[in-house]
Amino acid sequence: MAKLINSGDTIIGKHTDGHTRKWNWKGLKKHPVLNRNMTLYECTLNSYAEIVKECEIEDLNDECKEKYNHKLGDCLEAFAISIYVDSKRKYNFSVEAGISGRHKASTFSFRDLSVCSITTPLSNLEKHIKLLEQGKN
């Protein structure tokens, strides 16, 4: 059971619960590691996701086993997380009070295989790319 807080940290679970203060439904994507068609949600502002049921071992390929956290209770806590859910249909998020401090938050319970990752803000990437380019020159 690990609590993950760094950019790029990823969990994969058969059932995943969590909450966020803002979310966006981003459509259907081909997940680059699992190679499955999955729906992407982008959660921003005080986001949290936790594995409540572990994946079957046959759901995980070698790359998943090596790079992703997949134990029961593994969780992510970050400003922004992206969640790929193995479903072609949109899940419902329900708004509840008192979850994220004094704010209302949207809670989710994904009952399909889900891959959640902590994402870096775009502005950070832009600054980092500029630094890398300056270093290169």
Binding site: S7, G8, K26, L28, H31, T119, I129, E133, K136, N137
Partner: protein, 160 residues
């Protein structure tokens, strides 16, 4: 691309001196023209970081940017197609089975692939282009638009 031009005249010839400034490349050009029916002669001097100059004058930079924009338009169209199909499912125009089958049969029309491994040059270009595209607010938006593998973008963001 920044551009500054000055015009001169000497011995009944027109001289046009231009300085083009792009990221990683500065080009000084003198264009000579003696009359309208004769071709213009261009003399260029440039200094660039890498092969930027050759890429610009050969059209490679332009072609790469154009291809990325085409990819972005197609990926946005795939997203739009999926949401349109989903509306058809919600309003009862199609059944659950028809919805699943349509996506399975015409996968390329609805699903965005995120397989391209990100490198510094491509991401830098994508970030420049994304400033002109609506609603690119996150790394996910960038990877969906230009088909970058999101993990490789994250790795690039952490690279020292």
């Amino acid at each position: 691309m920044g551009k500054e031009t000055s015009k001169y005249q000497a011995n009944s010839r027109d001289f046009e001196v231009t300085e083009y400034i792009t990221e990683g490349c500065v080009i000084h050009t003198v264009a000579l023209s003696s009359s309208i029916d004769k071709p213009k002669v261009h003399i260029s001097f440039s200094y660039s970081n890498d092969n930027e100059y050759v890429d610009i004058i050969s059209g490679k930079s332009y072609e790469e940017a154009l291809n990325m924009m085409i990819k972005a338009v197609n990926n946005r169209t795939r997203e739009r197609n999926y949401f349109k199909l989903y509306i058809n499912l919600l309003d009862g125009s199609m059944t659950d089975e028809e919805f699943d089958q349509e996506i399975e049969v015409n996968e390329n029309n609805y699903i965005v692939n995120e397989t391209e491994m990100a490198n510094l040059h491509r991401v830098s270009l994508a970030l420049q282009l994304s400033k002109h595209i609506m609603n690119v607010d996150s790394i996910n938006d960038l990877s969906s638009l230009f088909s970058f593998n999101p993990n490789s973008l994250e790795q690039l963001a952490l690279e020292q």
